[in-house]
């Protein structure tokens, strides 16, 4: 078990007073809050900051931690409590945290402060004490193709469980999960009873898997809708053209009407991700201009310029 330097996490000096601790927590909580921050490790950092604050804001717990810090040295060093060391602060009071937070705290925290955990207390009480297991959250990222057709995946997770001595430990668990077709970004799959263990006769918690659909090279995803960009040659846009375009469910024939414009959006209803209702595929047209590479092509452009009195800058005010 590694020693954790809570002062370093909170970006504080060890002489910091209560007000500074609170200010630093507020600043870092805003910076790393998973609902606000999009940094890759924000969730991890937010948990670290939360844990550090729970220790440093409480004078008794902080005193106890400071003693251990003097004994243990630097962050990242292997940590073993001093011989004969007993926690003398009030221990872990689950009433101060939501149940969701308890399992998020590190082994280091558990070792020092959580020896009077809810489970430990429950096992010592005469009357029966039941608490539903906590809900756990995890993420899973899959390709857009897999989101469209559905897939079965094996997830390896660390699930908390109570050891015979009442302490909370992590156990690796392998779960096969069927992800149905049509899942969208941010959607959650609940696996009933696969969360944290219960205390007493209550039910275990649930496991929530939040789905993230990866960016796709061909399709841009927005909810259940996908957008596909279709470049056209100028003559195809002007005269219309019949094309085969890819969709998530396979290629389909599409007729582009004459006088199509760049940015024009065609809707293929029901060709997005499946669901109730299913999404659509939007085909956004763009016009690609061929390079002039020989005299014949230059003459063709010159012939066009003689045939039209077309001013694309009519509204912009720019003039030749």
């Amino acid at each position: 078990m590694k020693f954790i330097d809570y002062y370093k996490i909170m970006e504080l000096d060890e002489s910091a007073v209560a007000d500074e601790i609170k200010r630093s927590y507020r600043k870092l909580a805003r910076k790393y809050h998973p609902d606000v921050s999009k940094e890759a490790n924000s969730e991890e950092r937010f948990k670290e900051v939360g844990e550090a604050y729970q220790v440093l804001k409480d004078p008794d717990r902080r005193r106890e931690y400071d003693e251990l810090r003097k004994y243990s040295g630097s962050a990242g060093a292997e940590f073993t409590p001093p011989p004969g060391w007993q926690p003398h602060a009030s221990g872990f009071d689950p009433g101060q945290y939501s149940s969701a937070d308890e399992a998020d705290f590190s082994d280091f925290f558990e070792q020092i402060f959580a020896n009077h955990s809810a489970h430990h207390r429950a096992s010592n009480q005469q009357t029966e004490f039941s608490v539903r297991g906590q809900d756990l959250n995890t993420h899973f990222s899959l390709s857009l193709r897999d989101a469209y057709v559905g897939t079965t995946v094996t997830l390896k997770l660390l699930i908390p469980e109570y050891a015979p001595d009442g302490s909370l430990r992590q156990k690796e668990k392998s779960l096969q999960v069927r992800i149905p077709s049509g899942v969208v970004n941010g959607q959650k799959i609940r696996l009933r009873g696969q969360g944290g263990p219960a205390i007493g006769s209550a039910n275990p918690g649930d496991l929530y898997i939040e789905i993230a659909v990866q960016e796709d090279e061909q399709f841009h995803l927005d909810g259940k809708n996908v957008t596909y960009l279709l470049p056209l040659a100028p003559w195809e846009a002007a005269l219309g053209v019949k094309l085969q375009v890819p969709t998530l469910g396979g290629p389909i024939n599409l007729t582009i009407p004459p006088n199509a414009k760049a940015g024009q959006k065609l809707r293929l209803k029901g060709r997005g991700l499946p669901g109730k209702p299913s999404g659509s595929q939007f085909v956004v047209l763009s016009i690609a201009l061929p390079e002039v590479k020989n005299d014949e092509q230059r003459e063709a452009y010159e012939a066009l310029s003689r045939l039209w009195t077309f001013n694309p800058r009519e509204k912009s005010g720019a003039k030749i």
Partner: protein
Amino acid sequence: MNSHDRHNAIDIQGEDQSYSLSELQEICRLEQHRIIELIEYEVIVAESEDSNRFSYVQLNRLKTACRLQRDLEINTPGVALALDLLDTIEQLKNDIGLLRRIHDS
């Protein structure tokens, strides 16, 4: 030791689910007056004016609102503003992603 479970108890939380006020209370462990306050500030909105049912999207907004209030000590108008801004950021990011594709194509 690893356990390898095949299980059937899967719920897909999706757009066709809706929740009553008391279900929201139970799921989010909130008192009714707190949810009503969040409705008054339009943090969450019912499926229709004469309905007291809320979609899965609204449940997610409520959960986010609760986390923001708990973790960042934001009051209700602040949470309403934060959620609106987060929605706007999400929409803008999506639009930028699409425009970038158009530009690069």
